[in-house]
């Protein structure tokens, strides 16, 4: 509702987009470029939706009259509606905006407006006053409760009321001063709770979506609420009956198995089937949602998607708000106020930091936001208030009235993001592991690169998921993603969008060279994803395989690891908190001994919050006190309430006891493991000893071997030396032999020359003999003289003989052995010589 204000004012401020959100300076230019495209897209989708809704109205009329004959009245009314719409056909040309409303709005209200605007205004004013008066303590007459309470018959009346939401816009267009006054009035009336049903034309849509709500709600009823606060669980019980009535009215048809205990998966499957069956136009709707919801319809369409009407419990919101004052006045339930105070402080801190400077979030806007967040914190104490919800609530408040925003937020946080924003944020951690696995599967190259840079995917995707992209990507894109996410009713779109962003920007990331650059780049690229249609289509078409069933499977796989971590953490924190708690108790005891009973109560409360193991003890200490309190309680009802509180507490204790037993079990396991470990370590030691011994032996062996080697080497060396010696000796011997042969040769030569000389000597002797013989012959012939000659001749051979004998003797002296032979030969020669000489002499 506040958005209409925004769109006008924001035009004046340059650095804000059409939703009134601040633009980063570096994005202003690009936003301007895209603003034109956004406008075109918006016109296109407005037209598509208008046609869709008109067609649907007709088919709806057909269906309802056929299916539910008992609702004749409603059918008639619907027919009337279409007629009235047709009647306004000519109106379309008069400006898109009012035109749009004109086409959808119906019956009395519309007619009244067309016929007589001033009258309508009066009517509106009356309604407004009526509402204000009804907002007073009694609050009996809630404007919007009729449809559920009374029969369908009253629908017509309801419509008049329902369009209270619209007048604000309508009137703005025509009469601004008036509107301002009205707004002023409205805001002055501080406690006015504004709740408006959505326009008639979206009813079918709402019906379809509400059938989804019913089941999850049933499940919740059954699971009841160990985590919920005492008071609230009693309230739930009180309101449970009402809630069921509502459901029965709203539900299309009770063909579903009412026995609860179904898994969510089965539920969605069931829903799919039934939706296909009863709403043949669902496919078309999916397509439309991917294309985006028109701005003017968005607030209501979102409510229809989340099933706000089916979720709503009459007066619940007001009671939550009323609690504030109760809690302030009475301090009985110390625990709730303690925790609530913490939330309240955090909310107060965050209010000015939620879309700072947004034109719609002025003082009143912030009051609204505060009430909404406080109400939610009380509604679901297991979540309370978590940063990020301030942004969601702020966004919703821009699109719809306060209570509608509350129920939408309830749907988102309790249902779509169940377990996400609780104290431990378990599901959010699980989702990060799941997302990382999907990344590894889809973009192995990119993840490898990020690993190499030391960047964890969850660093970046964590904030994306937790903020559902608020402040992470441009607003147009955020809202388009929300369109799909709220329609689908689960977190699949979260994964698909994140994957789409990675797909679009992955290639750029691959070029980065250090962790800081990669993160900075991805942040700034994501921040400039102005092409919202590209993003949504990439997400929805590119990652069809990423569906709820697959995600559930992966979540189951990764959840144990997270739970383990969380448990370890909580153990540590408990120690820290407990010690702190004790200290503060001691402190307050010192300063105010009178408050000890109150302390006990506080202790109890505190324990239920952070599961202190000492709560059993506290409970024991507290119980006598409490019993006496029970007797004092004034009436039965209070006692019942008290009993319920007590029951919840006991359940809580039981849960803690179970937790503790699990802890002990794990501790036991650890001890057993520890024991095994000791044995193992002993064995290991023994083995190590053996190994050491063996190693020692090995080294000894090695030493011996080395010694042997040395000896061997020495022996070898000696051998080599002897060998050498032998060789030299052999060489010597050869040389000597050689010398001997040379000497032999020389000897032979000498012998040869000697024998030659002997021959010559023999020859000379024989010649001499012959000469002597001749001379003696001569002398005989000369007879006188022959005697003389004879004697001289006899004298001469004697001389030559002695000469010869001297030569022989010398030869014998020089040579030993061959002497014989030569002597023999000489002697034989001599003998011959002698014989020849004797023969000669005989002659």
């Amino acid at each position: 509702m506040l958005l209409s204000l925004v769109s006008r004012r924001s035009l004046e401020v340059d650095t804000r987009d059409s939703y009134g959100f601040a633009l980063r300076p570096q994005h202003v230019q690009r936003y301007r470029e895209y603003a034109r495209i956004y406008k075109e897209e918006e016109e296109e989708r407005s037209e598509k939706w208008r046609i869709f809704l008109e067609n649907q109205k007709e088919s709806n009329q057909f269906c309802s009259s056929e299916e539910e004959p008992r609702q004749i009245l409603q059918a008639a009314e619907l027919r009337e509606e279409t007629i009235s719409v047709r009647g306004q056909e000519g109106d379309y040309s008069s400006g898109r905006r009012s035109n749009f409303h004109g086409s959808e709005e119906c019956d009395h209200y519309k007619e009244a407006q067309l016929a007589d605007a001033p009258e309508k205004e009066v009517q509106y004013l009356e309604e407004q006053q009526k509402e204000q008066s009804s907002a007073e303590p009694g609050k009996e007459v809630q404007l919007s409760k009729e449809p559920e309470k009374e029969d369908q018959n009253s629908k017509e009346l309801e419509q008049v009321v329902h369009h209270l939401g619209e007048p604000e816009k309508e009137v703005q267009l025509s009469k601004e001063p008036k509107e301002d006054k009205l707004l002023l009035k409205q805001s002055k009336a501080g406690k006015v709770q504004t709740w408006y049903g959505i326009r008639q034309s979206l009813r079918a849509l709402e019906k379809m979506m509400s059938s989804r709500v019913k089941h999850t709600k049933n499940m919740k009823d059954n699971q009841i609420t160990a985590s919920r606060d005492h008071i609230l669980s009693t309230k739930d019980a009180k309101l449970g009956g009402q809630a069921k009535d509502v459901e029965e009215d709203v539900c299309v048809k009770d063909t579903f198995d009412e026995k609860v205990k179904k898994t969510t998966e089965e539920n969605t499957a069931d829903n799919e089937n039934s939706l296909e069956l009863f709403f043949p136009w669902k496919e078309e709707l999916v397509f439309l949602v991917h294309g985006g919801v028109p701005k003017d319809l968005r607030g209501e369409v979102w409510q229809a998607f989340v099933g706000v009407k089916a979720r709503r419990v009459e007066r619940y919101y007001e009671e939550l708000l009323a609690e504030e004052t109760d809690a302030d006045e009475s301090e009985d339930h110390g625990n709730s106020t303690d925790v609530a105070r913490k939330w309240k402080r955090q909310i107060e801190k965050d209010l000015p930091r939620t879309f700072p400077g947004h034109p719609a979030l002025d003082e009143h806007g912030r009051d609204s936001l505060r009430r909404l967040l406080l109400a939610y914190a009380r509604h679901n104490p297991s979540v309370g208030y978590c940063q990020a919800m301030n942004f969601f609530a702020g966004l919703l408040l821009l699109l719809m009235p306060e209570e509608n925003a509350f129920w939408t937020l309830v749907g988102i946080i309790d249902d779509y993001f169940d377990g996400y924003y609780t104290e431990e944020m378990i599901e959010s951690q699980v989702d990060q592991l799941v997302f990382e696995e999907l990344m590894r599967e889809r973009f192995p190259k990119l993840v490898n690169h990020l690993d190499y840079l030391g960047v964890q995917v969850a660093w970046i995707s964590g904030p994306w998921f937790l903020s559902i992209f608020v402040n992470m990507i441009p607003w147009e894109s955020v809202i388009r993603v929300w369109d799909v996410l709220l329609f689908e009713g689960n977190r699949v779109m979260l994964f698909r969008t994140a994957l789409a962003l990675m797909e679009i920007y992955g290639p750029a990331l691959l070029t980065t060279k250090d962790a800081g650059d990669a993160i900075t780049l991805l942040q700034s690229l994501a921040g400039s994803t102005f092409d919202s249609s590209q993003l949504v289509f990439t997400a929805c078409m590119g990652f069809l395989a990423v569906n709820e069933a697959k995600l559930q499977e992966l979540r189951e796989k990764h959840r144990p690891a997270v739970l383990l971590l969380v448990e370890e953490r909580s153990k540590e924190n408990r120690v820290w908190k407990d010690s702190k708690g004790l200290a503060s108790k001691l402190y307050s005891f010192k300063h105010d001994p009178g408050s000890i009973t109150e302390e006990k109560n506080n202790g109890e409360g505190g324990n239920s919050d952070f599961e202190s193991p000492s709560s059993n003890l506290d409970a024991l200490l507290g119980s006598p006190n409490v019993e006496t309190e029970a007797d004092l309680l004034p009436n039965l009802q209070d006692q019942v309430v008290w009993m319920k509180v007590e029951l919840c507490r006991l359940l809580e204790e039981k849960r803690q006891a179970i937790l503790r037993s699990e802890e002990l079990e794990t501790a036991l396991m650890e001890m057993v493991q520890e024991d095994n470990r000791r044995q193992l370590s002993a064995k290991i030691e023994q083995l190590e000893q053996e190994v050491a011994d063996l190693q020692q032996a090995l080294s000894d062996k090695k030493e011996q071997e080395a010694a042997m080697l040395q000896v061997l080497m020495r022996v070898e060396q000696e051998q080599r030396i002897t060998e050498e010696a032998r060789e030299t000796a052999e060489q010597d011997a050869a040389a000597q032999r050689y010398a001997v042969t040379i000497l032999q040769e020389k000897y032979d030569k000498a012998m040869a020359s000697l024998s030659q000389m002997e021959q010559r000597v023999v020859m000379a002797e024989s010649m001499l003999e012959a000469t002597i013989n001749y001379e003696s012959g001569q002398a005989k012939a000369h007879s006188p003289r022959s005697g003389h000659n004879q004697s001289s001749a006899e004298e001469t051979p004697g001389r030559s003989m002695s000469l010869l004998k001297f030569g022989l003797g010398w030869r014998e002296k020089v040579k030993g052995k061959p002497n014989h032979e030569s002597a023999h030969s000489i002697s034989s020669n001599e003998g011959k010589d002698c014989s020849t000489w004797q023969k000669e002499s005989k002659d």
Partner: protein, 201 residues
């Protein structure tokens, strides 16, 4: 985007971020690259300190941080080393502590911030110191920062308390004001000086 703006009035020794020296991705002894994480209670001014340091801006109504946000900034020290801080600014609400290990794991520096006007935030700071001593890197450089020093008339945590606690735990202590920019650059320069000079490989 974090390190793109450079205001003229800023210290001249500051480098304008984008021309960071190790764009080739190889840090050495002269060019350090450091992962720094800011922790502390919600609303003590973690984001404001980072914004003041990186962009030289102060916005009294800055946004709530969801999960964590990242900025980087490079400074030059007197010994002519440059330090590129990769700063993770975490969400302050208590339950987001569950996600903090993701960010402080592997961090070389942790800056733990409290608000000098809030004793509760000082308590929370002590919780963080203990947590980091237990689970952080063993050689992590810890800094204790008392922010909002400009609000000294509302001071509830005496300077001495901060100093004593820091000394006891071997931390570096400083009081800053993101609003007046007091001691913000000094904080990061001091951290730079205290870094071990051999970069972790």
């Amino acid at each position: 985007m974090g390190c793109s703006s450079s205001l003229p009035d800023r210290s001249s020794r500051r480098l304008s971020g984008l021309g960071n020296p190790e764009s080739n991705g190889v840090p050495d002894a002269k060019n350090l690259r450091v992962k720094l994480v800011l922790l502390g209670d919600s609303g003590v001014g973690k984001s404001c300190i980072v914004l003041r340091f990186v962009r030289g801006q102060f916005d009294p109504t800055s946004k709530v941080t969801i999960g964590a946000s990242f900025l980087s900034q490079t400074i030059a020290l007197q010994d002519s080393t440059t330090v590129k801080f990769e700063i993770w600014d975490t969400a302050g609400q208590e339950r987001y502590a569950a996600l903090a290990p993701l960010y402080y794991r592997g961090a070389a520096v942790a800056v733990i911030v409290y608000d000098i006007t809030s004793p509760e935030s000082f308590n929370k700071a002590q919780y963080w110191v203990k947590e980091l001593q237990k689970h952080g890197s063993p050689d992590i450089v810890l800094a204790l920062v008392g922010n909002k020093a400009d609000l000294h008339e509302n001071r509830e945590v005496p300077v001495q308390d901060g100093m004593d606690y820091a000394e006891k735990n071997g931390m570096f202590f400083i009081e800053t004001s993101a609003k007046t920019a007091d001691n913000i650059n000094q904080l990061f320069e001091e951290i730079g000086k205290r870094l071990p000079r051999t970069p972790p490989s």
